[in-house]
């Protein structure tokens, strides 16, 4: 089984988000970039397939040279090949176009992305790829088992879970549940050495138009001070929620 895992580099979840150049550019100062958490759950699931079913894993990232650290981490975790499409990932349509053009030329049985990246939260690249490659896609997966070329999948729906099955090839977007938080791998020394020596294949980007452009950013406005309510006077809380906030 040939698996492609598409990963993006995002600010670590604990990062403070700031902007520079008159609020038009994300401030990378002091920010650590990591594999997008939703992508990492998928990558770890792929490594389990490798351990159990001899799958071969290729990780792909659309990014400039500064994102190679996440590709090396992916190798250290267990990916076999790493590909970087040399471009600034400006919007989802652009990223999907770059990935699609690579994926079209290689026949993968399973393509994994994250449900969404935690920076731009678009969650649309996998849907775009499905349409481009004419392959079925399942969004927001919480479980994936594959046997004899057939996938059994669980996906999140609002208020529950839906169970599906589908023959490969297939695209899924993953999240926690594919594997647990505690299953995420910390690279061992052997993995780190392998990753250090591995040659990352760099591919030049295609000429693709963006369909959206972020022209400015703003931070949420400061909210009003918290109102402290005495634990002995919960009636006050109920009255405030009823009359002031009008939520009960």
């Amino acid at each position: 089984m040939k698996i492609a895992v598409c990963i993006s580099a995002v600010p670590d979840t604990t990062s403070k988000i700031n902007f520079v150049e008159n609020n038009t550019v994300f401030d990378r100062e002091g920010v650590q970039f990591v594999i997008n958490p939703n992508d990492e759950f998928g990558l770890t699931r792929a490594v389990w397939f490798k351990e159990k079913n001899q799958a071969e894993i290729t990780v792909i990232n659309v990014g400039l040279s500064d994102t190679e650290a996440i590709l090396r981490k992916a190798i250290a975790i267990g990916a076999d090949h790493a590909v970087r499409i040399n471009a600034n990932p400006t919007d989802s349509a652009y990223v999907a176009g770059q990935l699609g053009s690579y994926l079209k030329q290689h026949n993968f049985d399973l393509i994994i992305t994250g449900k969404e990246s935690i920076d731009f939260n678009g969650g649309m690249v996998h849907g775009m790829l499905a349409e481009m490659l004419n392959i079925e896609v399942v969004h927001a997966c919480t479980s994936l088992e594959i046997e004899n070329n057939k996938a059994e999948i669980a996906r999140e729906i609002d208020g529950g879970t839906e169970h599906l099955s589908c023959d490969l090839p297939l695209i899924i977007s993953g999240q926690k549940g594919l594997v647990e938080e505690s299953d995420l791998k910390i690279p061992n020394m052997r993995g780190i050495m392998t990753a250090r020596k591995k040659v990352i294949e760099v591919i030049e980007a295609e000429d693709i138009d963006c369909k959206t452009a972020d022209t400015a950013f703003e931070k949420p406005s400061k909210k009003a001070e918290v109102e402290l309510i005495d634990a002995e006077n919960l009636d006050e809380l109920i009255q405030k929620l009823h009359k002031e906030a009008k939520v009960i």
């Binding site: 902007f19 499905a130 926690k176």
Partner: protein, 321 residues
């Protein structure tokens, strides 16, 4: 020119987010000075559509669209939008809407932006405000393709009732049922409110000390008609299922009222719940980050405060019908 609002339904009933989608679509129609259509699939929507001022309802009835299939639904929406010559498509931020809209965007070569929180900032260049960095910031985003898909964040715009006379038209679509994806079944929370649909969410953290103490969270949720949720450590420790984990890597919460009990408020958690309108914190630690981020805070022991609150809310409910 025209705006197509894509309504969602379940078992022939419109979903609860429809009022907000219709209100947004109507206001967007005024802003853009163009026609507005409300599309429902295998569901009659007229009585809801006319309450929110949208005068054109489009119904598609097809046995091929009985259960949700993202590709088939995208085909249907694409076909309807072309027939009606709509260049703006308004969708919700539900899991299914997000599933469908990436496919739809590629199909129509459209600019698609979701997590939108308000009417467009500008008509030309068409610019919207959307939340990014998991609610830690907003971006002003230009959509420059001819067709634009706008995904609205729940509870960002609200509902505006405006009675009108609505004309309903049925449209035929050519959508087939072909799909390699086979639905085996669904597990849904019968009789319980989902986090996505809930007006009120009651959430517990490590401060509750163990899963055996969750009955008071459930009791409080029951009094309020709320969904229950939890913090990341709680789901990681297996006290509660992952489906209840809210925060940056869990589910986002955009309820009217969010009550956090024994949750200190890690930055990832605060980001995930920041779209909630009113936040109440019950915590022993007055210095917990969530206290500063809340609207109302009760500093005290959850094991004393919550049972009292449940009793007082029950009394309040009886008084206020």
């Amino acid at each position: 020119m025209g705006i197509l609002i894509v309504l969602e339904s379940e078992k022939g009933q419109l979903k609860s987010n429809s009022g907000e989608l219709l209100s947004y679509g109507k206001a967007l129609g005024n802003f853009m000075a163009t026609d507005v259509f409300a599309l429902s699939i295998n569901c009659s929507a007229q009585s809801s559509v006319e309450k929110y001022g949208v005068s054109k309802a489009i119904e598609v009835h097809s046995e091929h669209l009985q259960s949700f299939n993202a590709k088939n639904y995208a085909d249907c929406v694409a076909e309807v939008s072309r027939k009606l010559n709509c260049d703006i498509i308004v969708v919700s931020s539900s899991t299914n809407a997000k599933y469908m809209s990436g496919i739809l965007a590629q199909k129509l070569q459209a600019s698609y932006t979701n997590n939108i929180v308000d009417l467009p900032i500008e008509k030309s260049p068409f610019t919207v405000k959307r939340s990014v960095y998991s609610n830690k910031a907003f971006a002003h985003t230009e959509l420059n393709a001819a067709v634009k898909i706008l995904g609205l964040t729940k509870n960002s715009f609200g509902q505006t009732l405006e009675q009108t006379e609505t004309k309903t038209e049925s449209l035929e679509v050519t959508t087939s049922s072909s799909s390699a994806l086979e639905i085996k079944g669904q597990d849904t929370l019968e009789g319980q409110v989902s986090i996505a649909d809930a007006d009120v969410v009651v959430s517990g953290g490590r401060g509750l000390k163990g899963p055996e103490n969750w009955n008071m969270i459930e009791d409080l949720a029951e009094v309020l008609g709320a969904a229950t949720a939890c913090s990341k450590p709680v789901s990681d420790m297996g006290w509660r299922p992952h489906s209840e984990h809210v925060g940056q890597t869990g589910k986002p919460v955009a309820s009217n009222l969010y009550i956090a009990i024994g949750i200190s408020g890690a930055i990832q958690h605060l980001a995930g719940v920041s779209s909630s309108k009113v936040k109440v914190v019950i915590n022993t630690d007055a210095e917990a980050p969530f206290v500063k981020a809340a609207d109302y805070a009760v500093i005290g022991d959850a094991f004393e405060v919550v049972p009292q609150l449940i009793e007082k809310l029950k009394a309040f409910k009886i008084q206020n019908g």
